[in-house]
């Protein structure tokens, strides 16, 4: 009985938070302006990489590295979107809208609420990822053949990866709960660090051994590798010994580990926030 209630509460929280997240994301502009905004931002970021290759790399966009890098960069759009979407919710609700205390005093499943608030950003990111891949295929010579895509691997790793990113977001939300609001969103800042460590835009073995070891301990690295295999049929030298099944297994296993750590860390942060009266603090300066 209690389990049913809890499940119903979680679903309700997820549903309402998803609706709310979409409103917050989109209702400041008419749909056309919103669509332009949603696409321009990630595309501009991707173009930095395109120009770096086009202008500087030997072989330009025909460089053997470019397709893998482009796909990695496209998929990576999800990372700041979900990490920031979830962790920034704490700042928004606490300091901007003054709502966090009401979320905590209502029968809301806070974890489901946070994930729901991140869903809208993930939806917008999905459109940007698809547009980027289309741009790469149609205009930049990235060899993605629709008929050759390994759909089970692509969709399976996307689903697992989404869950993994959501839990990472919850971990960062816990950090945000007990820290002040600074200029930089913690989700975007961490995404910046992951950009280096996860082999997104260069082969991981380009890094010094100690740094690439850190990268190999981060699940996102395997998630990006899975997509490169699914879309391009490419295998990074560093992971050549890992079969597709093993790769998915690593992603699944690490998602479970991240989930457990994230929930524990978030609960710890909540306890601290309650003890110190931080749930309605205002820290903007």
């Amino acid at each position: 009985m209690r389990a049913n209630e809890d499940r119903s509460e979680a679903l309700r929280s997820l549903r309402v938070a998803t609706w709310l997240g979409w409103q917050v994301e989109s209702n400041w502009a008419d749909p056309f302006v919103f669509a332009i905004y949603s696409l321009v931002k990630p595309l501009a970021g991707a173009l930095i990489l395109v120009f770096m290759y086009a202008v500087i790399a030997k072989g330009g966009l025909q460089s053997s590295l470019f397709p893998g890098v482009f796909v990695g960069n496209a998929l990576f759009i999800y990372v700041p979107a979900v990490l920031a979407g979830i962790s920034w919710t704490i700042i928004e609700d606490r300091e901007h809208y003054g709502m966090l205390k009401y979320v905590y005093t209502a029968p809301v499943n806070v974890l489901a609420y946070l994930v729901g608030r991140g869903v809208a950003k993930a939806m917008v990111a999905t459109i940007a990822v698809v547009m980027m891949l289309l741009l790469g295929t149609l205009a930049l010579g990235v060899p993605i053949r629709f008929g050759s895509i390994n759909w089970p691997l692509a969709l399976g790793s996307l689903a697992l990866g989404s869950a993994m990113l959501a839990f990472f977001g919850i971990l960062l939300a816990g950090v945000t709960l007990v820290t002040a609001r600074h200029n930089y969103g913690v989700g975007e800042a961490v995404a910046g660090g992951l950009y280096l460590l996860c082999g997104v835009v260069f082969p991981l073995d380009t890094l010094p051994t100690w740094l690439s070891s850190i990268g190999r301990a981060i699940p996102i690295t395997y998630w990006i590798e899975a997509w490169r295999r699914a879309l391009l049929g490419q295998r990074a030298a560093l992971f050549s010994g890992l079969s597709d099944g093993a790769l998915v297994g690593v992603i699944a296993g690490s998602t479970v580990v991240v989930a457990v750590l994230a929930v524990l860390a978030f609960r710890l942060a909540e306890r601290r926030a309650r003890a110190k009266g931080l749930l309605d603090m205002q820290t903007m300066y």
Binding site: Y37, P42, I48, A180, A189, T206, M284
Partner: protein, 275 residues
């Protein structure tokens, strides 16, 4: 209240508004991790991209310098321009408007107060970048370099004040505009590669952004071996244009702040919250 000269009020306002910025940074030190260490990792990513594609070694220096200067652009965008959005939401903006002081003084105070963290970030990126990646910089002329740096900042902060005027009238729309500007400006300003690579036309258009010319001039002064075909204009010419932009943006900012404040007063948007 005793009548005080406008300059006294202006400078006291600057100090008064800078104060919470500095205190906040000293009291809540978590920003050191998020605003210094992690951006450093992001710059490092671009360094390794260049290494992976076997770019000429001076490009590593370009990225390190670009990463350092991007700290100022981000401070302008998020620490100043869009800050008025937050001030409106917390009710501080009303009190700033009602006070007999200049909005430019408030904005300048925000900018100078944030300069502490920003400069620390920039210095960390350059220092660690130089040490880790063996970047070699040769300062051709310290006075000219300082002049370029200071003029770039003045022009950049003037642009920031101009942008911030939008926040008097708009709320989330302007915030999203700031969000939108972040990556495109990074692209066309040459944070990560010389802007000349984008072609003459795009480079010329991008020169309206002070950071574009400022970065190009600083690269010429710090990397004298920089190839001719990567330079936009001679550094001296760029300094002159930057000085002009500084004056232009400060004048425009003053007018825009007055205009948008009056418009916001007419439309009743100065104290609207929860946008």
């Amino acid at each position: 209240m005793r009548s005080r000269s406008a300059w006294t009020v202006f400078w006291r306002t600057v100090v008064g508004r800078a104060y919470p910025r500095i205190l906040g940074a000293l009291r809540e030190k978590s920003w050191v991790f998020f605003e210094i260490l992690l951006p450093l990792l992001q710059v490092t990513a671009y360094v390794y991209i260049y290494r992976a594609i076997e770019a000429p070694p001076e490009f590593i220096g370009f990225v390190v310098l670009g990463g350092a200067m991007s700290a100022y652009w981000l401070n302008v965008l998020w620490g100043m321009a869009s800050q008025l959005y937050w001030e409106k939401e917390t009710g501080n903006l009303e009190l700033y408007i009602v006070a007999p002081t200049s909005p430019m003084a408030i904005l300048l105070g925000m900018a100078l107060g944030g300069m502490f963290a920003t400069t620390l970030r920039a210095v960390a990126v350059i220092t660690i970048g130089m040490l880790l990646f063996h970047v070699s910089m040769t300062v051709q002329s310290v006075p000219v370099l300082l002049a370029v740096f200071v003029t770039t900042l003045v022009a950049l902060y003037g642009l920031g004040m101009l942008l911030s005027s939008l926040f008097l009238l708009f709320g989330r729309e302007a915030w999203h505009l700031s969000n939108l500007l972040q990556e495109p400006v990074s692209l066309v300003s040459g944070f990560y590669f010389p802007v000349r690579a984008l072609g003459q036309v795009v480079a010329a258009a991008a020169s309206i952004l002070p950071i574009t010319l400022g970065l190009d001039a600083m690269r010429q002064l710090l990397f004298p071996a920089m190839l001719e075909d990567l330079r936009l204009l001679p550094a001296g010419v760029e300094l002159g244009i930057l000085a002009g932009l500084a004056v232009l943006f400060l004048i425009l900012a003053r007018r825009a702040l007055a205009y948008f404040e009056a418009l916001a007063r007419r439309e009743g948007r100065l104290s609207v919250r929860g946008q």
